[in-house]
Amino acid sequence: MSAYKLSLEGISKSFGAVTANDRVTLRVRPGTVHAVLGENGAGKSTLMNVLYGLYRPDEGRILIDGRDVVIDSPRAALAAGIGMVHQHFMLVGQLTVTENIVLGMKGQGLKLDLASHRRKIAKLSQSFGFEIDPTADVMKLPIGMQQRVEILKLIYQNAEILILDEPTSVLTPNETGPFFELLERLKSAGKTILFITHKLEEVMAIADDVTVMQGGKVKASLAKSETDPASLARTMVGRDVLFQVKRSAHSTGEPVLRLADVSANNARGLKALDRVTFEIRAGEVFGIAGVDGNGQAELAEVISGLRPVESGRIHVSDTDVTQASISDRARRFGVAYVPEDRHRDGLVLDESVAQNMILRTYNRRPFARFGFFDRSAIRDHAERLASAFAVRLQSVDQEVRYLSGGNQQKVILARELEGAPRVLVVAQPTKGLDVGAIEFVQQQILAQRDRGVAVLYISTELEHLLDVCDRVGVLFRGKLMDTIGSDDATPERVGLLMAGVAA
């Protein structure tokens, strides 16, 4: 009997010239939660896809319980006791939980005895505390429960090793706690869990051991008790990370952005903003906290002009911009906007980095003359911005799709900040980014503040808000509950407001 449930020995995998995994060794003790930590693009997903049989490694061995195994397909992986929950679930919405779990199982014979499966699934669910009703239609379940169905499915098919790829990215903060408790129960039942993440706090909360990857290589592999968040972050990013971004003392100027009694509807025509009033001064960062879906997205869209107001006025300095077009706001009044959904709003993924860098100035000189693009001016501009913002890329002609999330965000920031804006609206700029990228984004925002820009910073991640903002307001059901200076804004106080309890 080997000391390790699973070991990957010297796995290498390249795609063309890119080495995604370089002699990676990962050893997992039985009955533990083993975190694989790394920034986006560190090679975590490639490694897991090798383990799951989606990629064949160029070299290296996989051992389970000390014995060599060949995994050339997901079916082979499952036969070897390895199951994987992807970030995007593989469930059929119209079918029930039981049907989804039985779907694709081998050895069913001719007649499918759903009733006996259902009984067994219900029992299994109960014994681990999944709290799943096997007769429920999957599409009616909340996303957190669908994730549990995926896990239950693997357990039912006798998986011993569970690979969870960024499992908390689909969960709300309230769902994360119970989810970790479930993982604890699975662990005590002898299951081995591989937990892919780029979030340090999750590693500290749930993992027994941690392997840190960077640039396709293993940087460290150790027990959680031997480490701490700061040294993990250093290993992951390859340099020191300041958890507390430094805010210099500064003075604020005149009010730049003013909203007066602004109301607006959401895409479904329901009231999303209810008479919101505030002002932001030059050189001030105003934070908007709140549980997602309380009007934050609409607030950002109303200011940038993507969404019309129902009533109320918006002023930039002394100009009423309530009726100004999107491009007028961006170009004439200097309202820069970093949208929440990078892929939907902020970037054209099929276009090159260079074209995305001029997405909002595409018809301006020197990029366009007489209706035609000046390729070299666009390239020069993109190369200048890419180096100023340290965007990691092969070429500015590369499609922006192939950049990592952090680098995509840098492309947007570079584009929005380069026109020397007067107002900067940033919505969830740190979503899905790793610590290194988060630090960079926050520093850029503070640099704009110090330049005298009025910044509106919308985020559901309270600790990031409190790090950066001078004042914090809380949106609850479209109403601005209260505004608190950053020195008085404790997580508890803001948390109460987020729940709709007025101070």
């Binding site: 509807n265 993507l306 054209v348 993924l349 276009e351």
Partner: protein, 365 residues
């Protein structure tokens, strides 16, 4: 190996043609002839014979312009199945301008007729564009159905109000001979229209590659939300791209009247608008390659007549070959579907649909 695959991928239209000809040869054998001889006659007649090549160019003119009318809106993910109807309305407008305006000096009058034809096609295309932009109504269905409206409207016009007195079947009076388009090959039917088509195709190609409007149109197709964020009007691009497409198809109809038939006949187009879809897809939605694909399809058509005369093989065999070309082009899309221009156009259409859906819903509430 990968390189070979890539080369084959880029040649997929050529491969589709080869495969279609191979299957077509079975049909020719079934018809009791030698396929090699038949194809020799066909391609010699279409491309290597002075009169035959002129006939190819005559057919190429409407095919190319109709093809461009399909290519342009697809850049933004919009399907224009209505080139056929736009051809008819364009021809109608041009004929009216030719017959009922006071006589002007030839070139000026030709220009006016041409503009009238383009305008007719553009206005006809404006109907589906407005319905799409403001109500989100499926443009495929509207353009398709409007084809029949246009066809029958032109039939009505040349059966009644515009009929040549004493005509045995519905057609209009002949246009003044000062309006006949100049010929580009001496003593043949090949007229100036094909050159106009080539110039528009090259212009479109350049704008797609380097032009700001080519970029904004593609952005509307690739990510309508980001287009809005960039300050690009999605609705305006739907309307303008459809009107330009309609104008191209309108020109196709115009040149049929001014360059080839010199009157407006009922049902004259014989499906050039639908063949435009073949031209567009065979060219992989590249306007420059549409020049070649329209010449090929035109050549098939004119060569088929030669083949029938020389060897007694029905022209329907060639229609079958054209159908097979489509089939094989469609099959080639299965390889690296996403990477092809056509695959991307289909994805774009879905995205545009969703974005419009959201925007119209915003508006109604």
């Amino acid at each position: 190996m990968q390189r070979l695959y890539r080369i084959l991928f880029h040649l997929r239209s050529v491969l589709a043609i080869v495969a279609a000809l191979a299957v077509g040869s079975l049909l020719i054998i079934a018809a009791g002839s030698n396929p090699i001889e038949a194809y020799k006659t066909l391609f010699h007649g279409a491309f290597f014979d002075y009169w035959g090549f002129a006939a190819t160019l005559v057919k190429m003119s409407p095919l190319l312009l109709a093809g461009l009318a399909v290519v342009l809106p697809l850049r933004a993910g919009l399907f224009n199945i209505g080139a056929e109807g736009q051809i008819y309305i364009g021809a109608l407008f041009a004929t009216i301008a030719a017959l009922y305006l006071p006589v002007l000096p030839g070139p000026v009058h030709i220009l006016i007729c041409t503009l009238a034809g383009a305008l007719g096609g553009a206005l006809w295309a404006l109907i589906p564009a407005l319905l799409k932009a403001y109500q989100g109504i499926n443009e495929i269905i509207v353009t398709l159905l409007l084809n029949f409206v246009a066809l029958h409207f032109v039939s009505f016009m040349v059966s009644g109000p515009m009929i040549e007195p004493g005509a045995p079947y519905p057609y209009s009076p002949e246009i003044p001979d000062s309006l006949f388009l100049p010929h580009i090959l001496p003593c043949s039917d090949a007229h100036f229209g094909v050159l106009v088509g080539i110039v528009i195709a090259i212009g479109m190609y350049i704008v797609f590659r380097r032009g700001v409007s080519g970029f904004t149109l593609a952005t509307v197709g690739r990510n309508p939300e980001a287009a809005r964020y960039a300050g690009i009007s999605v609705k305006r691009h739907i309307i303008v791209s459809f009107m330009i497409a309609g104008a191209c198809a309108g020109l196709a109809g115009t040149f049929e009247v001014l360059g080839h038939r010199y009157r407006l006949f009922h049902a004259f187009s014989q499906g050039y608008g639908y063949d435009g879809i073949v031209v567009a897809f065979l060219a992989g939605l590249n306007p420059f390659l549409a020049i070649l694909s329209s010449m090929f399809i035109g050549g098939l058509r004119s060569g088929a007549n030669m083949m029938q005369r020389a060897m007694g093989i029905e022209t329907t065999v060639v229609e079958a070959i054209q159908g097979l070309v489509i089939l094989f082009v469609a099959m080639s899309l299965a390889f690296r579907y996403r990477a092809t221009a056509i695959g991307q156009a289909i994805t774009r259409r879905k995205e545009l649909e969703q974005a419009l859906d959201e925007q119209t819903r915003d508006k109604k509430t």
